[in-house]
C-alpha cells in the first residue's frame, strides 16, 4: 500500500491530470491544452453537454444516498483537503478539483522521492492512495463507462485518457472490494420512488443521463419536454411506461456488461454490478 511511483511517471501523471482537470472544469479551455490532449475542435457546447447536461462530475452525485450534489459525501471529501492543510475549494468533490489535488500530490510525491525524504514520501503516498481509492475509484470508472456512451465525439480522448490515468494509478488488486448494499425491493412501490431510485446511482448502480432518456424517447416515438431529469423521466414514464421500461432495462443490461468487462481492473465495479442487477429486478417488479 505504501509503494511509490517512479518520480518521472509521477510528474507525467501530474501534468496529465492537471490538463484533464482543466477540461472537466468546463470553462474556457486553452487551445494548447485541447491540442495536446487530442480534443480536436472541442467547443464550449461539448463541455456543456458532457459536464453540465449529462454527467456532472461531482462525486457526491454518484456516491450519495439521494443522488444530489453536496451533502455528506461532499463533506467527507472536503476532509482530505483539510487534512492536507489546503483550502477547500467551492466544489471539493468535482472531478476538476479532485484531479487538481491529485496532480499536486503527484508532484509532491516526485519531489519527496527526488529529495529522498522517506517519512514525507510515505505520507504523500498514503494521501494519494486515499484520494484515489476512496474518492475516485468508487465512482469514476462507472462514470467513465457512461461517458464513453454519451460524450460528444471531440471529448472521447478526454474519457480514454482519464481511463488510462486511472489504470496507472490503481493496481486492481489494491482496490477495495464490493460492499453489501441494502436494496429492499418493496421500497420502490410508486413512480416517484422509482424515479428517485433510478436517478440515484449509488442505489441503482446505473447512470441514466438526459441524453439516454432523449435517445430512448426518440426510439419509442416520444418528444421530450424541457426540465430536470426527474421531471423528464416522470413525463415519459407516465406517457409510455412499458416501452420506456423495456428500453431502460436494455440500457441497464448494457451497463452491467460494461462494468463486468472492467471489473478485472477496477474491482469496485463489482458493487455497481450488484446494484444494477437489483435495479433490473426492481424495474420488472414495478411493471
Amino acid at each position: 500500500m505504501t509503494e511509490s511511483f517512479d518520480p518521472v511517471l509521477c510528474r507525467q501523471l501530474g501534468e496529465v491530470t492537471s490538463a484533464l482537470s482543466e477540461v472537466a472544469s468546463a470553462t474556457e479551455l486553452r487551445a494548447e491544452i485541447a491540442d495536446a490532449l487530442g480534443l480536436p475542435g472541442v467547443a464550449r457546447s461539448d463541455l456543456y453537454r458532457l459536464f453540465i447536461k449529462d454527467l456532472p462530475p461531482f462525486a457526491s452525485i454518484y456516491l450519495s444516498a439521494d443522488g444530489n450534489i453536496g451533502g455528506d459525501s461532499q463533506a467527507v471529501i472536503s476532509g482530505i483537503y483539510r487534512a492536507l492543510g489546503v483550502p477547500v475549494p467551492n466544489d471539493p468533490d468535482h472531478l476538476s478539483s479532485l484531479f487538481a489535488l491529485l496532480s499536486q500530490i503527484l508532484v509532491a510525491e516526485a519531489k519527496s522521492i527526488e529529495n529522498g525524504s522517506e517519512p514525507e514520501l510515505s505520507s504523500v503516498v498514503r494521501t494519494r492512495q486515499v484520494l484515489v481509492n476512496d474518492h475516485l475509484l468508487t465512482w469514476l470508472p462507472a462514470y467513465l463507462i457512461s461517458a464513453i456512451r454519451v460524450a460528444p465525439q471531440p471529448l472521447s480522448n478526454w474519457v480514454s485518457l482519464c481511463w488510462d490515468a486511472l489504470r496507472l494509478l490503481s493496481p486492481p488488486a489494491e482496490a477495495p472490494g464490493p460492499k453489501d448494499r441494502e436494496v429492499c425491493l418493496d421500497q420502490v412501490d410508486n413512480l416517484a420512488k422509482l424515479i428517485d431510485f433510478l436517478t440515484t446511482p449509488s442505489k441503482s448502480g446505473i447512470i441514466l443521463t438526459l441524453s439516454d432518456i432523449e435517445t430512448i424517447s426518440t426510439e419509442i416515438g416520444l418528444a421530450v419536454r424541457a426540465g430536470t431529469k426527474r421531471m423528464v423521466l416522470k413525463d415519459v414514464f407516465l406517457t409510455e411506461p412499458e416501452g420506456f421500461s423495456e428500453k431502460v432495462e436494455a440500457l441497464i443490461r448494457r451497463q452491467i456488461s460494461d462494468y463486468i468487462s472492467a471489473t478485472a481492473e477496477f474491482s469496485y465495479l463489482d458493487a455497481w454490478v450488484v446494484n444494477a442487477e437489483n435495479a433490473l429486478k426492481i424495474l420488472s417488479n414495478c411493471q
Binding site: 501534468e15 482543466e22 495536446a36 467551492n90 490515468a165
Partner: protein, 974 residues
C-alpha cells in the same frame, strides 16, 4: 479501452511531454497555463456551466458556514436604456430572488453593471410598491383608491377603446411611453388597433441629438466604437455617467488604458469630465461653434479624408442647388467648403464659447490626428438644451464625416448597423390615420412626437383623449411645465380615462383613473438590442420566477402567477386587452394577437418569443441545438445572444445582382430597382427614402462605377447638404451650421444666468429608481451648483436658500458653491424634488406637499419631509435623509425647437436670495405665462402648409415609430 497497461503508460508519457513543453512556452510569456479549479471559485462571475446549481455561503450566517443554493436566471436591467444583462440569484429553497449581479454572457455589458442594476432587488422588494390594480374612488387627483380585479379594469378600458375605434375617434387613443426597454412591441399593438396613438418621451430627451445624425445618415444615433478609438470626443453632460453608462464607460476605460485620449465638452464638471484628458467647459449652446472651428481647421489644412468625402458625401447636390454658377467638380466643392466655413476660426469659437483659442487648437490637432479612429458621441445635454441643438449633433457628425471615421474600427457607426430587431410573428400594417396631437402641422421635421406640447395643444382645442395610457412614464414630473399636465389630467372632458401602467407610485399616477401594476426587470418579458460596439446582439428580459417555476415542473401560463401580488407584464396585458377590444375578431385586431399554432386561442408569450428566436435570429437555433436546447430555452438560460461581430462599413457593400432587376439610376447615382425588397429579419429602424417616379425602390448608389449599398438617405450618401431641410423651409440650415441658442448671451437680460437642468446622477434614473433604498441613500437631493464668483456677486452662502426664477415661475432651492460650474451658469440635477399629495403614502424620497390653484397661479407648497416608517423592510424605519431637493422642471416653459421639435431645456434664470417667507422646495408657476411662451415659440415654426413641397405633412423618408399610410400623410384642407 482495451489497451495494455504499457500502452496507457506510453500514451500518458507522450501527452505529458507535449503538455509540459506547451506549459513552459505559455509560462515564459508570463501567462497562466492551468487555470485550476480555484479559478472557478475566484472568478468574477459564476461560470455559465454552474448556473443551475450555484452554491454560496450565506453571509448572514457567518461564522457558521451555511450553504445557499441558487438557480441563476438571466434577465435584462430595466432601469436605463443600456439593457445590461442581470443574473437573478433565485434561492432554490425559498423560490425568491436573493440578489442581482451582472450576466457575463451579455455581449454589451459583459457581466458588469452600474449601481442601478443590482439595485433592482430594492425595486422588487420595495414594501410600498403597487401590487394590485387600483381604481380611483373619489374625484381625480383626490387620492382615494380601491382595489379592482384585472377583469374589471380591462373590460372598462377595452370598451372605451372599442367604442372610440368604432366611432372613428381613433385619435383619442394614446399610449405615452417612458422607458421603452423593448423594440417595438407597443408600437405594433397600436398599429394592430389601427391608431396613430404612439407617444414617446423622445422630444424631451434625445430628438435633437438624433436629428443631427438622421439628416446626415438616415439613421438616428451614434454607435461609437470606443474600445478601438484613438480619440474619444464626448459632447454630453451625463452621457457616460447616465445614459449608456455601463457599456460605454467600460469600453472607454479600456481605450484609456490603451492610451486613447478623451475629450469632454461639458459646461459642468461631470464624472466623465474628471477622467478626461481635456475638459472643455464652454458657455452653454456654443458647442456647434467649437465643432465647426475644429472642422474648419481640418478643412483649411486639407487634413480631411479626401477620397471618403469625394465618394460618400452628397456634395454634388449642394453644388447643383446652392452653387449652380460653379463647376460641379470635387475641387470646386472643396473650394466652396473652405469658403463656407472659413469664419469659424478658433478665435471666433473662443469668443463664443469662452474657451481659450489655444486650447481649441490643441484639441483640433489631436482630433485631426485620430483620422478614422475618432469616436464621438452626443445624446442629450447640449443637443437637448439649446434652440438649434440638433446642429450641435450635426456639426459633430461633420467632424467624423471629414475624417472618414464613419463605420470604421475605432470610429463611429450609425446605430442601426449595430442593432438587431428581429422580426416578430406579426407585423401589422401602419395606421390609416394621422394624429395631429402628436404630429402637429407646425413641426413637419420633428424627429419624434411633440409629446410635451400635448396639454397646450389640447388647451387650444385641437382634440381630446378618450383613453390615455402613460406607461412607465411620469410626465407631470419629467416634462417641462408639469402644471399644464396637472391641469390637463384634472379635466375629464379632455381626458376621458387615464391609465397609469407603472410599477411604483409617481406624481402623475396620482391623477389616474386606473393604476395598473407592471413588473420590474425580473418580472416581465421584453427583447432589447442597443448599439454599444461594432456588433449586434439581442437581450431577453424575462420574469425569472416564471422561468424558475417552469424549470421545476410547474405550469405557468400567465406571468401574474409568478409575480408578486397581481403585478403583470405589458406583453400579456396588451394581448389580453386587444382580445377584449375585438372579442369576435370583427375589427381585424384580434388576428394579430392570436396563436398560429392553435388558431382561435390567444397568442402565448412562449409562442411569441419562441417564433422570434426560431425564425428571426440568425445563428441562434444552431447555437441552441449545440446545447440540446430550443432557441427559447437558450435565451431563457443565457439571457443574450450575439448575432454578429464586426459588422463593418455596410455602405460599401456591393449590391447583389439578384436585387438589380429593372433598375434606373438618377443623375446623382441613386439606384432604384424593381426587385422587391428581400424579406428582412432585422427591423432596426432607419430612414426609408422614397421610390422613384415609376415606383422602383431605392437600393443603392453608384460610386466610381460600383453599385454600392450606401446610406438610407434620399441621395444614398451622407447628406452634408440636406435637400430635405432645404425643401421644407430651412434652406438656411441645410448644411451643418451654428444656431445661436435661446440662452445665447445676446438673448439674456441683465443679471440673467443660464440654468443647466438636464444632468443626471449615475445612481438614479428619472423617477423610476426612487424606490431603491440603496440608490436613495447615495443620492437624494439636488442643490443648485453655483460658481464662487457668482455666489460672491449675489452675496449667497451655502447656508442661504435661493430663488431661481424662470419666465413662468420660481423654485426655492439650496445653493452648492463649486468651481465645477463656469461663472454665469448654474446647474441643478435631474431625478430629485419628488413629491406626493397623500400624507399617508410612504416614500423614501418624496416630501408631502399641497397644490394651490388660484386663477392662473399654481403653487406647490411643501408640508413635511419624508419620515421613517415601519414596514416589512426594517430599513424604512432607519432612513436618515430629509432633504429631497426641489422639482425644478415645473418652472420650465415648453421650448419646442422649430426644426427638430426637441424641447430646449436650458433656461434663462435669475438667481437671488430667497425671501423670508420662502420655503425650501416651494415652486410657483404662472400658467398664463406658460401659455404665452408656448405661443411665442410656436411663432418660430414654418408649418407644412407653407413649406411642404409635395402636399404631405412630413418628409415620408424620415423615421417615425408608426408610419401612417401615404393617404393619411397628406395635408388636410386648410
Amino acid at each position: 479501452m482495451t489497451r495494455s497497461l504499457g500502452d496507457s503508460e506510453s500514451r500518458i508519457q507522450r501527452i505529458a511531454a507535449v503538455l509540459s513543453a506547451r506549459r513552459e512556452e505559455v509560462l515564459a510569456r508570463g501567462e497562466r497555463f492551468y487555470q485550476g479549479p480555484s479559478n472557478i471559485s475566484l472568478a468574477s462571475h459564476p461560470p455559465f456551466e454552474r448556473w443551475d446549481n450555484w452554491v454560496e455561503l450565506d453571509s448572514a450566517s457567518w461564522p457558521e458556514k451555511r450553504e445557499r443554493r441558487f438557480s441563476l436566471i438571466p434577465t435584462t436591467c430595466f432601469n436605463c436604456e443600456s439593457a445590461c444583462g442581470l443574473l437573478a440569484y433565485v434561492d432554490k429553497d425559498t423560490g425568491r430572488v436573493a440578489k442581482f449581479e451582472g450576466n457575463p454572457e451579455h455581449p454589451g455589458s459583459r457581466g458588469k453593471n452600474c449601481a442601478k442594476g443590482p439595485a433592482t432587488i430594492n425595486q422588487i422588494t420595495d414594501p410600498d410598491r403597487i401590487l394590485y390594480p387600483l381604481k380611483r374612488s373619489k374625484g381625480r387627483g383626490q387620492g382615494e383608491w380601491h382595489r379592482v380585479s384585472w377583469d374589471e379594469a380591462l373590460d372598462d378600458i377595452a370598451s372605451r377603446i372599442r367604442t372610440a375605434i368604432i366611432e372613428d375617434r381613433k385619435d383619442e387613443i394614446m399610449c405615452h411611453i417612458g422607458r421603452p426597454g423593448e423594440d417595438g412591441f407597443t408600437e405594433r399593438v397600436l398599429a394592430s388597433w389601427g391608431v396613430d396613438g404612439h407617444n414617446s418621451h423622445t422630444n424631451v430627451c434625445s430628438s435633437a441629438g438624433r436629428a443631427g445624425w438622421h439628416y446626415w445618415a438616415g439613421m438616428d444615433r451614434p454607435s461609437a466604437d470606443f474600445a478601438n478609438a484613438d480619440v474619444i470626443f464626448l459632447t454630453s453632460a451625463h452621457l457616460e455617467t447616465g445614459h449608456y453608462f455601463n457599456p460605454h464607460a467600460q469600453r472607454i476605460t479600456e481605450a484609456r488604458e490603451r492610451g486613447a485620449k478623451v475629450i469632454v465638452i461639458d459646461t459642468r464638471l461631470s464624472n466623465t469630465a474628471t477622467h478626461a484628458d481635456w475638459w472643455l467647459s464652454p458657455y452653454p449652446g456654443t458647442e456647434a461653434a467649437i465643432n465647426l472651428s475644429i472642422a474648419n481647421y481640418i478643412i483649411q489644412n486639407d487634413l480631411f479624408d479626401r477620397e471618403f468625402v469625394r465618394r460618400w458625401w452628397n456634395w454634388e447636390e449642394w453644388m447643383e442647388d446652392v452653387h449652380p454658377d460653379k463647376e460641379a467638380d470635387f475641387p470646386s466643392f472643396v473650394e466652396q467648403l473652405k469658403e463656407v466655413y472659413k469664419d469659424f476660426t478658433f478665435d471666433y469659437a473662443s469668443s463664443e464659447s469662452g474657451i481659450d483659442a489655444k486650447v481649441l487648437e490643441e484639441v483640433a490637432v489631436v482630433v485631426a490626428g485620430a483620422k478614422s479612429k475618432f469616436a464621438s458621441h452626443i445624446w442629450r445635454s447640449a443637443a437637448a438644451g439649446n434652440l438649434g441643438g440638433w446642429q450641435i449633433s450635426r456639426t459633430l457628425v461633420l467632424i467624423n464625416a471629414l475624417l472618414g471615421a464613419i463605420a470604421t474600427e475605432g470610429g463611429t457607426y450609425p446605430n442601426a448597423w449595430n442593432k438587431f430587431v428581429p422580426k416578430p410573428i406579426y407585423v401589422p400594417p401602419h395606421p390609416e390615420v394621422w394624429n395631429d396631437l402628436t404630429w402637429p402641422v407646425e413641426y413637419p421635421l420633428s424627429m419624434n412626437e411633440m409629446s410635451f406640447l400635448l396639454p397646450h395643444l389640447i388647451e387650444q382645442g385641437r382634440g381630446k383623449l378618450e383613453v390615455y395610457f402613460a406607461r412607465v412614464y411620469n410626465p407631470v414630473w419629467t416634462n417641462p411645465d408639469g402644471m399644464s399636465w396637472i391641469d390637463l389630467l384634472l379635466d375629464q372632458e379632455k381626458v376621458g380615462c387615464y391609465v397609469a401602467l407603472t410599477p411604483t407610485w409617481n406624481e402623475t399616477a396620482y391623477f389616474a383613473d386606473y393604476v395598473l401594476p407592471m413588473g420590474h426587470a425580473s418580472e416581465r418579458h421584453d427583447l432589447a438590442s442597443y448599439e454599444q460596439y461594432d456588433g449586434q446582439w439581442i437581450a431577453f428580459r424575462q420574469p425569472v420566477l416564471r422561468t424558475f417555476m417552469g424549470a421545476n415542473g410547474e405550469v405557468v401560463t400567465d406571468t401574474r402567477q409568478a409575480n408578486p401580488g397581481e403585478v403583470w407584464e405589458e406583453n400579456e396585458f396588451w394581448i389580453e386587452l386587444s382580445w377584449r377590444i375585438d372579442p369576435d375578431g370583427s375589427l381585424g385586431i384580434r388576428k394579430y394577437h392570436e396563436s398560429q399554432r392553435n388558431p382561435g386561442e390567444k397568442l402565448s408569450i412562449d409562442e411569441y418569443y419562441g417564433f422570434i428566436f426560431e425564425n428571426s435570429v440568425p445563428g441562434l437555433p444552431q447555437a441552441a441545438a449545440r446545447e440540446g436546447l430550443s432557441p427559447l430555452q437558450y435565451m431563457q438560460r443565457h439571457g443574450a445572444f450575439e448575432v454578429k461581430k464586426k459588422v463593418g462599413a455596410l455602405y460599401e457593400e456591393e449590391i447583389p445582382d439578384q436585387e438589380l432587376d429593372g433598375t434606373s439610376i438618377n443623375s446623382k447615382g441613386r439606384i432604384f430597382t424593381r426587385t422587391p425588397k428581400p424579406p428582412a429579419i432585422n427591423l432596426a429602424p432607419t430612414g426609408d427614402p422614397d421610390p422613384d417616379p415609376e415606383g422602383r425602390r431605392p437600393v443603392g448608389v453608384e460610386v466610381d462605377g460600383r453599385l454600392l449599398r450606401g446610406f438610407p438617405t434620399p441621395s444614398g450618401k451622407l447628406e452634408f447638404y440636406s435637400q430635405t431641410l432645404a425643401q421644407w423651409g430651412w434652406a438656411d440650415q441645410a448644411i451643418p451650421g451654428y444656431i445661436k441658442s435661446h440662452i445665447h448671451r445676446e438673448n439674456l437680460r441683465e443679471n440673467e444666468m443660464v440654468l443647466i437642468s438636464t444632468f443626471r446622477l449615475p445612481v438614479q434614473i428619472h423617477t423610476r429608481s426612487a424606490n431603491s433604498k440603496w440608490l436613495d441613500e447615495i443620492a437624494h437631493t439636488n442643490p443648485v451648483w453655483i460658481n464662487p464668483l457668482d455666489a460672491k456677486r449675489l452675496q449667497i452662502t451655502e447656508t442661504d436658500l435661493i430663488r431661481v426664477k424662470s419666465e413662468i415661475g420660481y423654485f426655492v432651492a439650496k445653493p452648492w458653491i463649486t468651481e465645477g460650474i463656469r461663472p454665469g451658469v448654474v446647474a441643478c440635477s435631474h431625478h430629485m424634488g419628488r413629491w406626493k399629495l397623500d400624507p399617508e403614502q410612504n416614500a423614501l424620497t418624496m416630501r408631502t406637499v399641497t397644490l394651490q390653484n388660484s386663477g392662473d397661479d399654481r403653487k406647490l407648497v411643501p408640508k413635511s419631509p419624508p419620515q421613517p416608517y415601519k414596514s416589512s423592510d426594517p430599513d424604512t424605519g432607519r432612513f436618515w435623509w430629509k432633504d429631497v431637493g426641489v422639482h425644478q422642471n415645473l418652472i420650465f416653459p415648453v421650448h419646442p425647437d422649430p426644426v427638430s421639435g426637441m424641447h430646449c431645456w436650458h433656461q434663462a434664470v435669475s438667481v437671488e436670495k430667497a425671501q423670508p417667507t420662502d420655503v425650501y422646495g416651494e415652486v410657483y408657476v404662472d400658467r398664463r405665462a406658460s401659455r404665452e411662451v408656448f405661443e411665442r415659440w410656436l411663432e418660430m415654426t414654418r408649418d407644412a402648409f407653407s413649406t411642404s413641397p409635395d402636399g404631405t405633412r412630413r418628409p415620408r423618408w424620415l423615421m417615425r415609430p408608426l408610419k401612417p399610410s401615404k393617404q393619411a400623410s397628406l395635408l388636410p384642407p386648410r
